[in-house]
């Protein structure tokens, strides 16, 4: 039995899939997932660096990087405007950062060769691969739409809980919990599943076969980023517009 367990452990170490393994850091008695922080720093560095380079000296006739970043900004503004309405202006940074951070995180998990860097425990992957990241973003979205509603309508914002009829009060309250829950778990599940499928396929058939799945993964990554940003904008717009 001991031999069996040992061979099992050896096989665990050989097979590449690691789920729920974390590279723990201790910060003041609290545990932190180091791999998530490292990759999130890389993603933030990519975002800030490319934006700083592209927007350093804007030209009237845009070229190259500036053109691309203008296109991205137009896209984000379009999403925000469609979901929030005419008062979308102040929310563009939030929606845009959500979209860009999630998008670059997802694609970094698929495109950057994180696995080259060995960690003592766990492995580097997309930051959105970790439930902490997605829940953090979802909770920020919740805070954002509460803030939007309360600054727009004051305390009468809470009137929406009994809006069609007071009977729906429990469901309306429940909605405030299901919104961040569904947002975070959708993103987390999609990205984790995508990376797992790719890893499993690569371990089974190393050649050619995983490629379509990888492209599908890139596609779903982009879609998930868009969905997260769009839903966040929709929630904010919903809490601002009111049910009159």
């Amino acid at each position: 039995m001991n031999v069996l367990a040992n061979t099992l452990k050896g096989l665990y170490d050989v097979s590449g899939v690691e789920v729920g393994q974390h590279f723990y850091w201790q910060i003041g008695g609290f545990q932190v997932h180091g791999q998530v922080l490292i990759t999130s720093w890389v993603v933030i560095a990519i975002l800030l660096g490319s934006a700083a380079i592209a927007v350093r000296d804007p030209q009237t006739i845009p070229t190259g990087g500036q053109n691309f970043f203008e296109y991205v900004l137009e896209f984000i503004r379009d999403v925000s405007k469609t979901q929030i309405g005419e008062e979308y202006g102040p929310w563009v940074p939030f929606i845009g950062t959500l979209f860009l951070f999630i998008f670059v995180s997802n694609w970094s998990g698929a495109l950057l060769p994180w696995k080259i860097i060995q960690l003592p425990h766990g492995e580097l992957a997309a930051p959105t691969n970790d439930i902490n990241t997605t829940v953090a973003l979802a909770l920020l979205t919740s805070v954002a739409y509460f803030y939007a509603g309360i600054t727009k309508k004051g305390l009468s914002y809470f009137g929406k809980y009994i809006q069609p009829t007071p009977i729906l009060l429990p469901i309306n309250i429940l909605e405030d919990f299901t919104k961040p829950l569904s947002l975070s778990f959708r993103l987390f599940g999609n990205i984790l599943a995508d990376e797992l499928v790719v890893v499993v396929l690569v371990s089974l058939v190393p050649l050619v076969v995983p490629i379509p799945v990888m492209f599908l993964g890139l596609f779903t990554s982009g879609i998930q980023a868009l969905i997260f940003a769009t839903l966040a904008a929709a929630y904010i717009g919903e809490s601002m517009e009111g049910h009159h």
Binding site: Y12, G20, I27, L37, L47, L48, L73, I131, N132, F177
Partner: protein, 218 residues
């Protein structure tokens, strides 16, 4: 909510560690083959009575014999492991939002809006001058029309005048020529008559001379 998820994750992990000896959620061929161990005992009829006992023994053994390192990893294999990472990521996100707003969204958005405004302004000013251009064009066309009419009128007038003059001169010349012709004809006739008359008077003298010359011997 976090507690709830943590609870569910704990349940999931303990459940998997009792049923399957692969609680790490690691995928390996062993995971497929190992559960067959107890199942392969099922079809044997003479072991039917001792079956639950054997399974429990195997499970207990597999749990007891698991090396401590594996057990430690089982404790750590946490998919839903909430800790300080969450607030740190939230803070990082907020910082990223502020930074991106400072270097990307606000400057580029302002730049794009200003460019839009400038283009719109230029476009509207172009529209205004287009009206002016139309007016000027109409004016130019009117001036051209007037000038053309004037020119054609002057031309017509000049043509008429010159025609009249030419005709007059022609008539004058014809009259003059006719008169001269008449005069010339008249003088010619007169000369002819004179010559005939002179010839008549000379005929007698000539014929006398001819006769004298022909008939010298007279």
């Amino acid at each position: 909510m976090a507690n709830m998820i943590m609870a569910s994750s704990k349940a999931l992990i303990t459940c998997s560690s009792t049923i399957l000896p692969t609680p790490k959620l690691k995928l390996s061929p062993v995971q497929l083959s190992f559960p067959k161990l107890p199942l392969s005992n099922v079809p044997k009829p003479h072991q039917l009575l001792s079956l639950p006992n054997s399974i429990s023994v195997i499970l207990a053994a597999s749990l007891a014999m698991a090396p401590p390192s594996l057990a430690a990893e089982i404790e750590k294999a946490a998919l839903f492991d909430f800790n300080l990472t969450l607030p740190i990521i939230a803070a990082e996100f907020l910082l990223l939002m502020v930074a991106l707003d400072k270097i990307y969204f606000t400057p580029l958005g302002k730049f794009m809006d200003e460019r839009d405004a400038a283009i719109r302004e230029k476009l509207s000013s172009v529209k205004d001058t287009s009206g002016e251009v139309k007016q000027l064009e109409a004016q130019a066309a009117a001036i051209m029309r007037a000038a053309r009419a004037e020119i054609s009128a002057a031309l017509n007038k000049m043509k008429k005048e010159t025609q009249l003059e030419v005709e007059q001169k022609l008539a004058e010349g014809r009259k003059k020529v006719e008169a001269e012709l008449q005069e010339a004809l008249a003088s010619l006739e007169k000369q002819k008559e004179d010559t005939i008359r002179a010839l008549d008077s000379q005929i007698a003298a000539l014929s006398d001379e001819i006769v004298k010359k022909v008939l010298p011997a007279r």
